[in-house]
Amino acid sequence: MSDAYILGIESSCDETAAAVVRSGEQVVSNIVASQIATHQPYGGVVPELASREHLRAIVPVVRQALVEANQDYKSVDAIAVTQGPGLAGALLVGISYAKALAFALDKPLIAVNHLEGHIHAVLLEERQKGNYEQQFPVLALVVSGGHTHLYLAARKGQGWTYENIGHTRDDAAGEAFDKVAKLVGLGYPGGPIVDRLAPHGDATAVKFPPAQIKHRDRRVHRLDNHRKENGGESEVESDRPRFDFSYSGIKTAVLRYVEVHDMQRSIEMRRQTLASIAKPKLEHYLANCDKRTLDLVASFQRAIVEDLVGKTLTAARAYDVATLFVTGGVAANSELRRTFERDGAQEGLPVYFPSRPLSTDNAAMIAAAAYPKFLAKDFAAMDFSAEAGLVLR
């Protein structure tokens, strides 16, 4: 089979992105709107959540992805686009554009699940390094601002199948990072800055109760068929062990800590000072954080990381998996990577992460996840629609 160049388009949430990937194994170009010139007049901080922003960005982003790949509209072999999950209005922008391109150019159209994209970001980069062999079963932790999901992945023919064995019952891990950062005056989104500040604090200073799942366990009986018809999540198995997460309690615990220790005034001062600096650097953050705040964010990060790693490795043992993937925006967190590598190695479990640029939302992962579907000729009909609550199976 000769090389296949797939143009991927992603617009499920904040980022408008396009990429060209060769045969699911090499990123030829990878463009994310917030990085390119057309957005610089806005300081690159325009939240892409609005479909109008996707609409504005999609044509230049796709064009740039083709130019950087030395391709043009006619030379690519297929067009892949995120179908869901995500924000319906945002998804529709990518889908409509992909459909129009596929129709006008008479190219195959491939619909991709965003979460499958995150998993394939790992595979893509491993192949790029020459590693084509993954041992199955694979356990994948997809952890981002919107998701904290555990999937067991297996091969089926050319493609992959997935079984969800756990997800957050309330807040996603990345959401907890963002909310805590905002809570202590570090701005939003705050995952990256918490990551950089945490080494400067004492991670053992503040004790958080282990993230408890307070709600009762999943009932054995599943809701009626109504939800199945509507594409709701409804596993067949009910006796398979589940590993759910919960990060709402720790967010509330940080809020309590701030109140009990009377930190509100200094937090407000920090917020104003940092807001007055155009692009605050680490030293600005450090100069505006007292020891108590640094200890708090370090302890918070440690608590989240230990919970994510602990539950994931427990799930890995329960399902006797051979390989672990950790992917999604929070997979860029340094302490999470270090801890997974250390603890995974102790158990003899290989752990794979995407590089940081491919951890967060991007279109290369969409083009990569589309490749097995391209080989299987699993093409989307022209009338397929956005599915905000699309489930990965």
Binding site: C13, P47, L49, A50, S51, R52, E53, P85, G86, L87, A88, G89, S144, G145, G146, H167, T168, R169, D170, D171, A172, G174, E175, D178, K179, L183, Y188, K214, H215, R216, R218, R219, R222, L223, D224, H226, R227, N230, G232, E233, D244, S248, K251, T252, L255, A388, G389
Partner: protein, 148 residues
């Protein structure tokens, strides 16, 4: 329960997340569609926890599958009697961002919109049918106030 003119308010205190969920289940009747509901309360006040109960009461979702929509902005749960939209405007600050979310498209005879941080926008304060506010009284105690 206090009745003042057309307005009716009622208040309840729950003592655990489970109780908050159980109370949410009872709200499905009060919130028969179409409704626009404002959910008010600080971080950690229990807004998502209450929505778990409401969604379960509508048979639109299992409580463990109802999660925070902060990042994703809108979660949809379809039930036999209503389509529930759990909306979080925490990340939405400007009118322009709000408009492009297209929330008006979600409003229909069969829809119930449950909006967190909707009070940031005056139009929702005007247009809301019901307002539910949650306040933290103690570690697990929550005072829930409903006005319609």
């Amino acid at each position: 329960m206090a009745v003042t003119g057309r307005e009716m308010t009622r208040e309840i205190t729950t003592h655990s997340p489970e109780e908050t969920i159980a109370f949410g289940r009872t709200l499905a009747e009060l919130l028969s569609p179409p409704k626009l509901v404002l959910l008010r309360g600080d971080l950690g006040a229990g807004k998502t926890t209450l929505v778990k109960g409401i969604a379960a009461g509508f048979e639109a979702a299992e409580e463990e599958d109802v999660t925070s929509p902060t990042f994703t902005l809108v979660h949809e749960y379809r039930g036999p009697r209503a389509n529930l939209y759990h909306i979080d405007l925490y990340r939405v600050d400007t009118q322009r961002e709000l408009e492009t979310l297209g929330l008006d498209d979600l409003r229909s005879e069969s829809s119930v919109l449950l909006i967190e941080w909707g009070e940031k926008f005056p139009r929702f304060l005007r247009e809301r049918d019901v307002e539910i506010s949650l306040e933290r009284e103690s570690e697990d105690g929550r005072r829930i106030n409903i006005s319609d």
